[in-house]
Amino acid sequence: MNCQRFEQVVSELARGQMMEAEVRSEAQAHSKECERCSARLRDEETLTRGLQWLAGDMESLAAPAELELKLREAFRERRVVAPVVVGSSRSRYWLVAVAAVLLLAISVGAMWWGSETPQESVAEKTPPKPAEVVSGPSEPEPKPEPKEVEYQAKDQTPKRQLSKPIRRNTGNRRAPEAQVAHHPTNEIATDFVPLGDMNSVVLQDGGQIIRVKLRRSALVRFGIPVDMDRYNENVKADVLIGVDGLARAIRFVQ
């Protein structure tokens, strides 16, 4: 047997694994002749002993007794929580990515709307035609838009009054969005994304949110596209810590 062949069997030899008797005796004979292979075998045997000691040291370890009680209780009350993620991890990433893109689009939209003054918005959003209607009934009536016609047919109200409800509706629709954009902290956050196999029972017990900074590259793990030029920059995130001290969910903050 040469050193190369010895290298292939040295681990098995040190671990006392089953092997052909002939190969074993040849390997043992080689280790006696070759100083390097002898040292190699000694190292492997020492490692094997270390691993056996570690295994022996941990042999008595077991899960805490209260875990059995918890499982029994869950079994009894059928409190088995549906898994957070049903699909594969790839589909989860896609879902998260789609959700993130939608959220981003909504956030950008909200910011854009919020940055406008009410007058500008009304001027932009309200078509000039109803304003003309308000200014004077003697002026020629503009060609009614389909929406106005429908409204008129339903309520049988004069066209002159149409502009008011339309404007009021526009204002009402804008209010909550403007509120989002003018959040006191000026931050936009995604929804919480569960980390690992989150058990919602744990979340019901409460917890706390901790602000952390992550590398922008971490977003990739959640399926969020990352600008490679800013790959090493940090992003803010809120981590939801369960009562057990473990991170349960995360959301990204802008």
């Binding site: 079994f75 196999d197 793990r221």
Partner: protein
Amino acid sequence: MTHKNELSDNDLLRQMLAGDEEALAQLYRRRQASIYRFALQMSGSNSIAEDVTQEVFLFLMRQGHVFDAARGTLSAFLLGVARNHVLRRLRVEHLLSPLADDNEDEGIGFQVSSELCPLEDLTRAETIENVRKAVLSLPPKYREVVVLCELQDVSYGETAEILGCAIGTVRSRLHRARALLLTKLRPAESVEDANSASVKSARCFA
């Protein structure tokens, strides 16, 4: 009437899925320790090990019917489930690791110190601690074969079943993992010696 402890794992699972709480308890007592130790040896964290053990049995309650006895043992099935949970948790933990920990070579916190005594001179406690840290610092795909084959004493065949790979892959990964462990446990000067020795032996092969 047959005692629960005389029943096979498969029978206990069947009874558990039929609503027998004692079957669950028996199955749990029989299998929890190996699952807990596997998770602990893989993660180095008691809390992760505890969570994973709980998740494995919750999974068994919910989806125990997916186990197919023809494809392997329940023990291997449970370890496979535990492995998935551990790897998922490790990915998350790695993701949330402090930003200051930029040096990935440090692994999970163990770094081979040049001041370490030679392996032979270490006391038993020191050896155990150093081996534990060295195992934790291995990349997961090598760590899991060491944990299963060396620490859990699972056969190559069953390990291959748990990991979903060929037996040959298990063998080669274990061989590579042991080489990595030796490198991590060996003092720096010995590594240099070993490297020079390997050069010499390479010349010898030629």
